[in-house]
């Protein structure tokens, strides 16, 4: 029987940290048990980034994610673990709130919609747009911003949305566009970007 990590009930990013520990300790294959879909998505991405395959089984609300080292050579592993080449430009937009600037909320919401309108219309697109805290209300609840994000996504822009934040605001079921993500992926996109514009 393969090594099992029980991460049920553990908040993000604990399941990912525990899985990384299992990898570092050389366990292969191993299984991580979690109890929510966000953790499953995070673990699948971790597997992809680390050259593992991840198979998911579910029973009674418990997900078992089976990690196994892919058939690999060093070169493939390096290719897998390197960040995805951004289809957009070498820059990222970090959105930590649902309005632009301080002051009137309604004006700030309009400015945010106009920002994404302009971003989606322009030629110079970012490689990634990263949403955290109240920023996650945009790819879930704001119809106009969702439209613009879909256009950006189709143009190859990565849309990463903080899963912890979606859960905090009870919006996980309402994500209309983008990938549920975590601090690791979001920080990596920031580190790899030539510049990060924070709204």
């Amino acid at each position: 029987m393969s090594y099992v990590v029980d991460a049920k009930g553990k908040p993000c990013p604990t399941p990912v940290i525990l899985a990384k520990q299992a990898m570092a300790e050389g366990h292969d294959p191993f299984t991580v048990l979690v109890d929510n879909p966000t953790a499953v998505e995070n673990l699948k991405r971790l597997a992809g980034n680390q050259g593992f395959t991840a198979a998911v089984r579910e029973a009674d609300g418990v997900y078992a994610v089976d990690f196994a080292k892919g058939e690999g050579c060093t070169a493939c592993e390096a290719a897998v673990s390197s960040p995805l080449p951004a289809a957009g430009g070498d820059w990222a937009v970090f959105v930590g709130r649902d309005i632009i600037g301080d002051g009137d909320r309604e004006l700030g919401a309009n400015l945010m919609r106009m920002f994404f309108y302009t971003l989606a219309q322009g030629e110079d697109k970012p490689g990634a747009v990263l949403f955290m805290n109240a920023g996650v209300k945009l790819p879930t609840l704001d119809e106009q911003v969702v439209d613009h994000l879909k256009a950006l996504h189709e143009a190859g822009v990565e849309i990463l949305v903080c899963g912890t934040c979606l859960n905090f605001y009870s919006l996980a079921e309402q994500l209309k566009v983008g990938t549920v993500s975590n601090m690791y992926d979001i920080v990596t996109r920031m580190q790899k970007a030539g510049k990060v514009i924070t709204l």
């Binding site: 309604e106 004006l107 309009n110 919609r113 106009m114 309108y117 439209d147």
Partner: protein
């Protein structure tokens, strides 16, 4: 026209108009096109087929006719043209 744009003499007008218009047609907020004004401002974008409905809704609102203006936008980038739609767009909409 590819789409219509309404500009406003005040930001308050632009925000109020959205409340009125989202009940009658799908609209988007956008920055005022450079071709229309060098100033920065909030504009509302609508579909050509909604012109009459949108114009009628604004005419029936508390906004005065001089507080907003309609434009018909065609093309994009360097080939973009924005043509004013005269007053009374509600009645002449079909001619655009």
């Amino acid at each position: 026209m590819d789409y219509g744009v309404i500009t406003f003499s005040s930001t308050y007008g632009a925000i109020y108009a959205q409340k009125v218009l989202k009940e009658v047609a799908p609209i988007q907020v956008m920055p005022v096109l450079r071709e229309i004004s060098l100033g920065c401002g909030i504009a509302v974008r609508f579909r050509p087929e909604d012109l009459e409905r949108v114009a009628a809704a604004l005419a029936a609102s508390t906004l005065k006719p001089e507080e907003y203006a309609f434009y018909a936008v065609t093309g994009r980038g360097d080939h973009l043209t924005a043509r004013p739609i005269p007053d009374g767009a509600a009645s002449t909409g079909s001619a655009i």
